[in-house]
Symmetry: C4
Subunit: 190 residues, 4 copies
């Protein structure tokens, strides 16, 4: 089985998710800046989710590039990841339109957490296919950054009902950590 079509399909789905999110930025009826004001939180949500989908596409790209073979389990683990990613437009819009109210912020975090878990499952299955001593496994590394992100999402979900702004800060913080490729960060954590 070739991995090319798996990559192409994943690229297609992520490209569509990242683009249709903009349809939730509903065009206001008025023609002044004040008519755009209620859209500001929706826009901030959009930026956050755009960055996250970019990170997932980026990491997915790198991980698949080092894989040599895919089987049925990989296909389904990949679809499982795409499923949680596909819910991003919904949780993004719900959070943005409700101006970062506690429960929508919590649901957004649950989706991030599920995406992270699904990504971990995909990485684990690919590692089993490639072998524990393979180049793939070595390149994947210890997964410290991934585990730390998962814990951060978990904390964000836990505090969302009491301090949604803390959760939001965690979402943006984790995104920044992935955006800025900083090898020292990993060393410090280790």
């Amino acid at each position: 089985m070739h991995k090319g079509r798996l990559e192409a399909f994943s690229d297609g789905v992520i490209a569509i998710i990242i683009t249709i999110m903009v349809l939730e930025l509903r065009v206001p009826h008025g023609d002044t800046w004040s008519d755009l004001l209620p859209l500001v939180p929706v826009f901030i949500s959009y930026v956050l989710s755009f960055i996250y989908l970019g990170i997932y596409w980026n990491n997915h790209h790198h991980m698949l590039q080092r894989a040599h073979q895919v089987n049925g389990a990989v296909l389904w683990a990949n679809l499982h990841l795409l499923f949680w990613l596909s819910l991003t437009p919904f949780v993004t819009a719900w959070m943005g339109e409700n101006h970062f109210a506690p429960q929508p912020v919590l649901l957004y975090g649950i989706d991030l957490l599920m995406c992270a878990i699904a990504y971990g499952i995909l990485a684990a299955i690919l590692t089993r296919v490639e072998g524990k001593d393979s180049d793939f496994a070595r390149a994947l590394g210890s997964g410290v950054k991934e585990t730390a992100s998962g814990i951060a999402y978990f904390v964000a979900v836990a505090v969302a009902l009491f301090a949604p702004w803390v959760s939001l800060a965690i979402y943006f913080g984790v995104a920044l950590v992935w955006l800025i490729p900083d090898r020292r960060f990993e060393r410090v954590v280790q």
Copy 2:
């Protein structure tokens, strides 16, 4: 004629179908869990259709991979399959928004049945192109699983008006059978 562009086009259409379905998960106006409650059946429909589209992409992927040549008839048989798949977002949303009422559940089953028939036609045309003694025909096998699924959809459609929950159980049951690759199952049925 090369099959590459046929695969790419099919991947694109299936990727778009699987993703725009999420647009039917309309963002509620309120910001509490109770506002999400009416969406639960829509979400369950979404999960079911996501799995089915994943199965079709997966099987389409495998079938085309073994094919060597495509002609005009294959192109149109493929578009015919994509047509019924493209109606999935509509029947999914109608079924979900009406909380699995009998007639929407029946229509969903008709779409599943038409997809299965269209897939069978595509397989038959590819077999004629490749030859009855080809590797393609041998790899395709006897089609027991496909025929059994078609019969199951037919039964589900027949009972939908009286017992929609039975139909729904059949839809999920068949999806599970395809999700879990179990060679023994085929042997038992044979």
Copy 3:
């Protein structure tokens, strides 16, 4: 300049057009067959446009396959074709939702006509690039079928305000002629 990315981009756009049309099949609020009745003309429009987009993808596929090089003029002639194709969801929905009223039927025909003209321009530019004595020009042939289709669309547009059903019959008739690959038809016309 390679034609691969031109094909991939065109495939992507046509795949998206053919798929987002289904979003115009608005899910009705009721859960009975009678609630679906008003959607029947929208569905018929959808089927017609699905076939036309399939024909364009098919023909585009064949034409580009025989081309060897693309330049800036080809890129823009191709985008010009994609522009008119991209209006299909709009004219399809307007025609379907108004139950084939004269003016929407006329506009649908204008879009078909513009697509045909844009396709002809693309073919002419590719012929100029490849050369009049090239294999490409020979494979393209005399364009009898294309010219006849264009004339048919023109007639359909001319009579739409008086006899929209005649126009609609022409739209379906031309689609059938392209669907059924009949070499004798071309000979008879010649």
Copy 4:
């Protein structure tokens, strides 16, 4: 790292953006020409944005074709460009639905300006990766046309609140300059 998947992902996103814009052409309820009249400015906006996205796809295609390697910075600079392009459907619809009112025209210009800046950043990063004396840098040239376009957008943004029609003329004018490949234009400016 291969550039193939970067190109494919960018093609996918641009193809989706250029196509979902048509969803903002809301189908009117009436079935006469007068019902279409309010859509004329939305349609003009659509044409303008379709051309701009075509130009970006075209230029992106050419620039990436000459690049040999991509790294993390290129991936993110590319996503940054796609982000501003992805806002096109929103600013297009806001401008069209408000019949070219000053503030929507200004916002449209800001989006064009940000796209141009993002494209410039991508070009700069690719130049650094390839080297200042590379074929890539030579092919890219002095960027006179790009800089002139950026200045034009800036002027359009500055005058939009007082003379939105001047801004609009600039948007169309710059698009035409890019549509018509005129080598003498560059020489004259130099």
